[in-house]
Amino acid sequence: MERAVTGAIPGVERIAEAFSSARADGRRAALMPYLMGGFPDLATSAEIGLAYARAGADLVELGVPFSDPLADGPVIHAAGSAALRAGATLPGVLEVGRALAERVPVVVMCYANLIVTRGLERFADALVDSGASGLIVPDLPVEESEQALAACDERGLALVPLAAPTTPEQRLARIGAQARGFLYAVSLTGTTGERGRLDQGLATVLARVARHTAVPVAVGFGIGTPEQAAAAAAAGADGVIVGSRLVRAAGEAADPAAAVSELLRGFASALAGPLS
């Protein structure tokens, strides 16, 4: 396997390492905060990312703003629109990722059109060059991801697929088999955003997903409190992704980095102890 950066660890290995060291540290699950690249502006989003790393993030999901984010609820949609108005572009967001990748594995979350427009190979090269470890494409189901998977595999990048509560058994098998790095389990039937309570069927969904894959399973969508994060870990998640709650704080606070640090510490401590 060719490595674009001499001596760099391939993304898939770096992600695996992040999950296993969270376990080795005796924590309930790995913590993966979501960062909207370029929100409220590029410089501040870079500070927020570093604050995540310092406050206990095991990995960071780095969102690339897109004009038409179909999987996102109002908070992330609005943040993406604001980032675009502030001039965010893919190269700018990948620069934020580059600084962050020196500290934690970065998994880029990017809608399909930004990849298609650039060309898959060129896009994947840019990702590797920025030090990113993985890629999540929320609108690229397995039916459409064959070429992306090959391009990522060639470069040691983890193409992380999503599974939803609506995904039937047969599809889970296919998704699980082509999961790299980790499998992103969507906790609820819906778009991203905070919810009052975790979906009751989460444990069932996680058990179903885990049966079909060899990689860790991280849960995202709808996890907005430390209690919900702990409950997701208890339901069997190997990792917990927190998005809208943090993005909302970044938008509301006078000092976004400080605000997200405090929040993230709360999530980290909820995941600190081993499962009882």
Binding site: S67, A71, L90, Y111, V116, D139
Partner: protein, 389 residues
């Protein structure tokens, strides 16, 4: 049994969140099951005949013909119940939704014609109906907003972006991601993830099937040119498809040139032929910037104010089978006013684009134009614009 196409050449596909994939598979299976089912076909055909008023007439527009120097026939989709071709698709999909046990319907609308059609079909079939509509379009198309309310639909205002059709589609898709198990999304054009482009085309091809038989019966020949406006492109694809193998018939799709292709303010992705991209679940011609961000479209016609296009149109364009052109807001307005005086027909601003192109490009011996809808909904907007000039 032929499969439901997922791709048209390189275009189409299913670029949607995983949550929707089982819903799309269910829809495709349902359509395959009923598409050739006698009972379903009879039920739909009876409604199209007795409720919609099909077949819609083919009308020889005598004064328009005189102006152009050759016969011009209009396929009168404006005479359908609810005033546009949209009802053909809405009724078919609402019946399909009922078959798969989904009693909640969502739809998006730009000009309001599809929203009214969906609301109408839902009233008829006793289904719950929510229509997403940009607030700018709600302003431009007030009578249709009131119509939907009267029909018992809930119109959900969409404030995102420039508050037009693109954002209404996105909002509808997000609703579907959340409610896919109870809800059917009646998309209004031949866009979106598979199976929608094929499903909508199949439901709209009644326009072309009728028109082909009618023109043969009336004139004993096929037209030289088939002309239809293209936003997402459902009336055009329905018109074109039965003529695809008639190689002497030119197929012309007329897009919204807005303030001109060079201005960047237009709704003509097929004509502008920039880099294709993914919008609302399909890979097709789109209007986007270099970074891959989808740009806002612009058209005086709310129904053509869309930066994407049906994937089958992109393929027909690449194959050279259909030609796509654009006419400006100004030309469309002029045609709107001119056809009203010449023929006593007030066309929808969308359809006025097709008429405008024919008026400024007289050629051939026989034109067949799809008059996809009536223009009552556009009166306020069009009169204000005409007065301004």
């Amino acid at each position: 049994m032929t499969a439901v196409e997922h791709r048209f050449g390189p275009y189409g596909g299913q670029y949607v969140p995983e949550t929707l994939m089982p819903g799309l598979a269910e829809l495709e299976a349902a359509w395959l099951a009923v598409r050739d089912d006698r009972g379903f076909k009879d039920e739909l055909d009876a409604l199209l005949r007795d409720y919609v008023g099909r077949p819609s007439p083919l009308y020889l527009a005598a004064r328009l013909s005189k102006d152009l120097g050759h016969p011009v026939y209009l396929k009168r989709e404006d005479l359908n119940h609810t005033g546009a071709h949209k009802i053909n698709n809405a009724l078919g999909q609402a019946l399909l939704a009922k078959r798969i046990g989904k009693r909640r319907i969502i739809a998006e609308t730009g000009a309001g014609q599809h929203g009214v059609a969906a609301a109408t079909a839902c009233a008829l079939l006793d289904l719950e109906c929510v229509v997403y509509m940009g607030t700018e379009d709600m302003r431009r198309q007030k009578p249709n907003v009131e119509r939907m309310g009267l029909l018992g639909a809930h119109v959900e205002p969409v404030e995102a972006g420039v508050r037009t059709l693109k954002e209404a589609v996105s909002a509808a898709i997000r609703d579907w991601v959340t409610n896919v198990e109870s809800t059917h999304y009646i998309i209004g054009s031949c866009v979106g993830p598979a199976p929608y482009p094929a499903l909508v085309r199949d439901l709209q091809r009644v326009i072309g099937d009728e028109a082909r038989a009618q023109i043969l019966e009336r004139t004993g020949r096929l037209p030289d040119r088939l002309i239809a406006c293209v936003g997402g492109g459902s009336n055009a694809i329905g018109m074109f498809v039965p003529f695809l193998d008639d190689h002497d018939v030119q197929l012309i799709g007329v897009e919204a040139g807005g303030e001109g292709l060079d201005s960047g303010r237009h709704g003509a992705p097929l004509t502008a032929a920039g880099l294709p991209g993914v919008l609302h679940g399909a890979f097709s011609a789109v209007i986007q910037d270099e970074d891959g961000q989808i740009l806002e479209a612009h058209s005086i016609s709310a129904g053509l104010d869309y930066p994407g296009s049906g994937p089958e149109h992109a393929w027909l364009r690449d194959l050279g089978r259909a030609r796509y052109v654009a006419v400006s807001d100004r030309e469309a307005l002029d045609a709107f006013a001119r056809v009203a005086r010449l023929e006593g027909i007030i066309p929808a601003l969308e359809s006025a684009h097709a008429l405008a192109w024919a008026l400024s490009n007289p050629a051939g011996e026989l034109d067949l134009i799809c008059l996809s809808g009536r223009g009552d909904k556009d009166l306020a907007e069009a009169l204000a614009e005409l007065e301004r000039s």
